[in-house]
């Protein structure tokens, strides 16, 4: 599932994961986790066939990572291998408003509008940070960014306390604060935002097989999202030439695929480093 990365890329990814995890874990441990939507979550990843990589790179960063015993595997007929660990779940419907509140409190401003011309935008700023996700495909002409369509259901089953996911990434049961997320699909190149009935039936059928107790629950809602697929996140700086003749640093931070939550903080820290560097290197200019 994780694409083959070069050593440098792997090192960076490990650092991003660790920093993001530690950051979210600290929030999950604090008194505010009810407001932030960040919770501790334990569960299982199971595989139909023993994977080539029995211990993923992030195993040391999550908590209590271990292989499942034969006794535990009995619960998952059709699966030959499994792992258990404790991780964090970050519900963005709560987390993002909380982050936005902090951003505004620190003096940040939010302007609503679509940006189609970065050079024009850069004329009014000292630095631009591009977090346009899937939109980077057109905004900066990055043809490697492509949608990976994901459909999920929000399900009522409050007795489900552990997550279960199939290592192939196509079936997962993630208990959240007020509902359980059932998924999913990974359709590369698919731009459809509408819910697909066939996908829905497939998700329910596979999830029910993984956890039969779900049959006692009910669907609360459905949703489709487009993951910003890319070989790996682009976190780097380039120089923009504005129509006004200025050179403005453009820091990219996009292309996180299905790993947005898992890598957001780590990549943000890297992007911050690039922003600092770029601002320090800027020659002083008289504003006339």
């Amino acid at each position: 599932m994780t694409p083959l990365l070069t050593d440098i890329q792997l090192e960076r990814q490990r650092r991003w994961f660790k920093e993001s995890f530690d950051h979210l874990l600290a929030i999950a441990q604090s008194s505010t986790c009810g407001e932030t939507g960040v919770i501790l979550s334990s569960g299982y990843q199971v595989f139909k066939e023993v994977p080539a990589e029995r211990r993923p790179y992030w195993a040391e960063y999550v908590l209590g990572f271990r292989d499942l015993s034969d006794r535990e595997m009995k619960r998952f007929p059709g699966h030959k291998f499994g792992q258990a660990f404790t991780t964090v779940k970050c519900e963005c419907t709560t987390y993002l408003p909380w982050l936005e509140k902090r951003f505004r409190k620190a003096g940040g401003e939010i302007q609503q509008g679509k940006v189609s011309d970065l050079q024009h935008l850069a004329d009014s700023y000292d630095i631009v940070v591009n977090c346009s996700g899937l939109g980077a495909r057109s905004l900066v002409g990055d043809a490697t960014v492509h949608p990976v369509r994901g459909q999920i259901l929000k399900f009522h089953a409050p007795w489900v306390k552990n997550f279960i996911r199939d290592g192939d990434g196509h079936t997962y049961i993630y208990p959240g604060v007020n509902s359980v997320t059932l998924g999913g699909t990974r359709q590369a190149g698919d731009w459809r935002l509408q819910v697909d009935a066939g996908d829905r039936e497939g998700i329910l059928e596979r999830c029910f097989r993984l956890d039969p107790s779900l049959r006692g629950g009910r669907v609360l809602g459905e949703w489709v999202g487009l993951r910003p697929g890319r070989e790996s996140p682009r976190v780097e700086v380039e120089q923009l030439k504005t129509p006004g003749g200025r050179e403005v640093p453009l820091v990219h931070n996009y292309g996180h695929g299905g790993w947005g939550v898992s890598l957001a903080w780590g990549t943000a820290l890297d992007a911050l480093g690039l922003v600092r560097q770029a601002l320090n290197q800027r020659p002083p200019m008289a504003r006339l």
Binding site: Q29, I39, R66, L68, T86, V177
Partner: protein, 345 residues
């Protein structure tokens, strides 16, 4: 054969179930009647969190550990059945925390995925230096008891809302075997100096973001006298106190305050949770479960009694193993009865 069960908590109901399961084919007719003055949702079993876990150490009582294991495996077998949710059975993982180094608990091989806590995990719980993680079962009384009652009613078991004041009373009305599952009030039927109430008070809290149970163990304060947080299918149970000899079933503000403060220290996110209600229950505490036969002479008659009470804070945890054992004792009585019948020929 007429069997009278006294008590409709988890012990009474599950014992009636085991006896029916094992003997309704052999003994015809087999009339089972349950007498109680408290039924679900007002029994001790209903108020309990519904968390399967025995006390940390069985102190050599291998029989009770065997019954605990039997119960765990039995409940686990229902996990994939369509009835699991109706029965209130589901899995949940969590933390047992100790203030000092301690030997592994007696239930380590019964639960799923038992392991030591890593240093990083212990950092999440300041003040606790040692502990374990495992996945265990929940069996919520408020679902399990109605399911059991349904199961029994469908099979012709009759229920009577009546307080029984003596074994004699039941024997007089025709009961041939009496199963005494009267829990904490067993002493009213037959004095038992070993049986005492272990008063517990809990808070039910709305905190759906908590997905693990957390139990703390303080060997100076004793079992259940330090904080525990056990999420259920709807609300989170927060405790605890364990007051030996206290018969009060009223909620205490002092206990409420202590429980709440200690739990918020353990899990700071609780501070923002909404407290829904308090509940007080009396654990039927005894050095060991009283699970044995007794033949009581009453004039010319012998009243056969099977005692099954004194399960302390682990009634739900041990119920099936005890029910099966009680059924086995019932089988002994049957053999005797048949023998006595034969001797009359």
């Amino acid at each position: 054969m007429r069997v009278a069960v006294i008590g409709a908590g988890v012990i009474g109901l599950s014992t009636a179930q085991s006896i029916y399961e094992q003997y309704h084919g052999q003994v015809r007719p087999l009339t089972i009647e349950v007498y109680a003055d408290r039924f679900t949702p007002l029994t001790t079993s209903d108020g309990a969190a519904g968390f399967w876990q025995p006390y940390l150490y069985d102190k050599g009582n291998a029989e009770e550990t065997k019954w605990n294991k039997e119960t765990f495996d039995y409940l686990l077998s229902f996990l994939h059945s369509p009835d699991a949710i109706k029965m209130g059975i589901f899995l949940q993982s969590g933390y047992n925390l100790c203030t000092e180094s301690a030997p592994d608990p007696s239930f380590k091989d019964i639960v799923l995925g038992f392991r030591q806590l890593t240093d990083r995990e212990l950092e999440m719980f300041p003040g606790y230096s040692h502990g374990w993680f495992n996945t265990a079962l929940m069996v919520e009384g408020k679902s399990y008891l109605p399911w059991l009652m349904d199961w029994l009613i469908q099979r012709g078991v009759k229920f009577y809302d009546r307080k029984i004041n003596s074994f004699q009373e039941l024997a007089d009305s025709g009961a041939q075997v009496i199963i005494n599952c009267s829990g904490v009030r067993s002493g009213e039927l037959q004095p038992d100096p070993e049986l005492q109430p272990g008063r517990g008070q809990i808070l039910k809290v709305d905190a759906p973001w908590i997905k693990h149970w957390i139990l703390t163990h303080n060997f100076t304060k004793g079992t259940y006298n330090s904080p525990y947080i056990i999420p259920g299918s709807r609300l989170v149970t927060v405790g605890g106190v364990f007051q030996l000899g206290n018969w009060s079933e009223m909620n205490s503000s002092g206990d409420h305050k202590k429980i709440w403060e200690e739990a918020c220290e353990l899990e700071p996110s609780l501070t923002h949770a909404r407290i829904v209600e308090d509940w007080t229950g009396l654990r039927p505490v005894r050095g060991r479960v009283r699970l044995e036969r007794e033949s009581i002479q009453s004039g010319p008659r012998t009243i056969e009694v099977i005692h099954n009470y004194g399960h302390g804070g682990y009634g739900l945890t041990i119920h099936r193993g005890c029910a099966q054992e009680a059924a086995r004792l019932f089988g002994e009585i049957l053999k005797l009865t048949r023998w006595e019948t034969k001797s009359h020929l």
